[in-house]
Symmetry: C2
DNA sequence: ACACTTATGTAGCCTTGGCTACATACTACC
DNA sequence: GGTAGTATGTAGCCAAGGCTACATAAGTGT
């Protein structure tokens, strides 16, 4: 069966004629969504790493309740996520002690923060109010690829 | 206890001195993350609605397997998500028949597609290669607020 | 008509990331 | 040193969004 007819044989609908909107290639589109999903999976880890790093830098200690409060979640949720960070070798802690980052975790945090800053700056540069930029960047940053990030930096330098 | 000391009484660490990086306000930060989480919850629905709308427009029919293939997921996953769309009043279908959108679903799809387009255009405008822009936009678009979107449009018009 | 292929739907499992409720461990203070 | 208060941790629940395996339905072709 010749690929083009194969898609629409069911119910005898005629093969798609030319002149229609033309969707992107099927597998390419699938890859886009796949990439977005994997970015989403990393997002939580990045948020935690970045926040823990911030707390350590500015206050000296990153405690589960502080983390939970800042992320707007309950403390058990925070503890569970921290456990995942530990599983993935990004953080470490002993019972009833504050959390700290491993080298890998620190590196992740640094990259996340750098990206965050660039994204906010870009948004502001194209006319988004600062407060709104901070809000929107929180979700967007995890989906910005290195290539796009480099483009952002270049744009900001002008 | 005077709020400022309260945060750091544990283990006798002295209250935070001035001159440190200064984190954003606690509750404001929590709201940022909360907003990002709720955007994420909408993301799947938007992706499905937009895709279904695309399929209906360009091919005449939106069938679960096509949807699954284009999203890069298994067909049971797609069917489950479609069930959620139906639950939320965005889509409808009968057994063994293609999916279609309700008025609400169509409206959501239209908004999602418009936003998608603006985001891609903005990325391209600031120097991101087209292919990369398409990839990154897929994840970013769900986090762009109306205010930012308006700013993007204004920027593109110049 | 019967067989074959593909599409659709169901069942059941996993992980993530939310939550509440409860138990335990600190710390501070009198 | 005991008590109050806060932090920490555990258990168990839920929904979302992945998956595989299986069963049924619908077209296709000989």
């Amino acid at each position: 069966m010749s690929a083009n007819e194969a898609k629409s044989t069911r119910k005898g609908r005629p093969a798609e004629t030319i002149g229609e909107p033309a969707l992107p290639d099927e597998t390419e589109q699938a890859q886009r969504f796949e990439k977005a999903r994997s970015a989403q999976a990393r997002a939580v880890l990045e948020d935690y790493a970045e926040l823990i790093d911030d707390l350590l830098t500015s206050g000296g200690e990153a405690r589960p309740t502080d983390i939970a409060r800042r992320l707007g979640v309950s403390h058990p949720t925070a503890i569970k996520s921290i456990a995942r960070l530990k599983r993935e070798g990004l953080a470490a802690s002993e019972v009833n002690r504050g959390v700290f980052l491993t080298a890998a975790g620190h590196e992740l945090a640094a990259r996340a923060r750098a990206r965050h800053r660039v994204v906010v700056d870009l948004l502001v540069a194209v006319g988004v109010p600062r407060a709104c930029a901070e809000l929107d960047a929180e979700g967007m940053e995890h989906h910005v690829s290195d290539i796009a990030l480099a483009a952002f930096s270049r744009f900001l330098k002008r």
